[in-house]
């Protein structure tokens, strides 16, 4: 295989510029994978890998992914928060790659909250 070079980046840049003008970049959903020490130790990295694969497979561009630290519920990790614009955030507990796939397909794409996995609705308040 030919070596990847800075020129490849230039080509990618041109391609992306062309596509960017065709898309609207509105963010519809923000997904947060909690990645404190506790989350990582219980498998948050695999959950994150699965989520990134699903996003790529679904070719959606209105979903942003971010990470956050521990929120004090270490025993229920891995935790994932799904925030659809103008709706209360939903926190899922004990997430694994299979649950992540289901949450992505059913909740993020189809809008159905996956109640059996839900820990809570709303934002955490840290005092």
């Amino acid at each position: 295989m030919a070596k990847l070079t800075i020129d490849d980046l230039k080509k990618i840049k041109e391609k992306v510029h062309k596509e960017m003008s065709l898309r609207d970049g509105d963010r519809r959903v923000r997904i947060t994978v909690h990645m404190g020490t506790c989350g990582i130790a219980s498998g948050a990295k695999e959950v994150m890998d699965t989520l990134l694969e699903e996003i790529e497979a679904a070719k959606v561009n209105d979903v942003i992914v971010t990470t956050s630290g521990c929120m004090g519920l270490c025993s229920r990790e891995p935790l994932v928060t799904v925030e659809v614009v103008n709706q209360d955030p939903i926190k899922y507990e004990y997430v694994n790659p299979n649950k992540m796939r289901q949450i992505f397909k059913r909740h993020v794409l189809a809008g159905e909250v996956q109640t059996p996995f839900v820990l809570a609705k709303g934002s955490e308040v840290i005092k």
């Binding site: 980046l9 992306v16 020490t37 130790a41 990295k45 990470t67 630290g69 521990c70």
Partner: protein, 182 residues
């Protein structure tokens, strides 16, 4: 923590939380000296002498949501289990440097694990931070600097799927070329 990549992800999140804008992650494998060294250096707000004394205590944490802080103690333990050492240097307002060494061939040394995914997760979720990844295996080297990538892609965000695809391919190629043994 099952792999060293998990530790890297965890410790680097500390750097991000310390407001770092530039983080260097360096991995060195030296077969002749039977040495594996991992170093994470940031330009975050650092720690005072006083805090530095306490961070290796598992019951010390800066967070208020729970009473334990295990990130650094777990890494120290992993290093010492594999006949390695743990070093921590920090200066207030200039940054922190964490280094862990391991016996490369030691039976109890954790495997490096999914390094590429770890670096990609760090880049995607902290797109405001620049990362410099250096990996040496004896006399072979691989480097990836997001500052250089950013210079080329101008207004495209670094976490754009096409750019991430490029970073993944570049890392796969680079790590294959240096034939990492850890």
């Amino acid at each position: 923590m099952l792999t060293l990549a998990d530790h890297i992800l965890d410790i680097t999140e500390n750097s991000v939380r310390a407001g770092a804008k530039f983080i260097e992650i360096s991995i060195e494998e030296d077969t002749a000296q039977d040495l594996l060294a991992i170093e994470i250096k940031d330009d975050g707000h650092g720690m005072s002498e006083d805090v530095l004394q306490k961070v290796l205590d598992p019951f010390y944490t800066t967070k208020t949501v729970r009473r334990v802080g295990l990130g650094l103690p777990l890494l120290r333990d992993a290093a010492e289990r594999a006949q390695g050492h743990f070093f921590l240097k920090s200066q207030q307002n200039s940054g922190t440097q964490v280094k862990a060494t391991f016996g490369l061939g030691h039976l109890d040394r954790q495997p490096l694990g999914a390094l590429i995914n770890t670096i990609i997760i760090l880049i995607i979720s902290n797109s405001q931070v620049d990362f410099f990844y250096k990996h040496r295996h004896n006399d072979r080297r691989f480097e990836l600097d997001t500052r250089e990538i950013r210079k080329e892609i101008e207004d495209i965000p670094i976490n754009h799927p096409e750019i991430i695809k490029y970073i993944r391919a570049a890392m796969e190629e680079g790590l294959r070329d240096i034939e990492s043994e850890a």
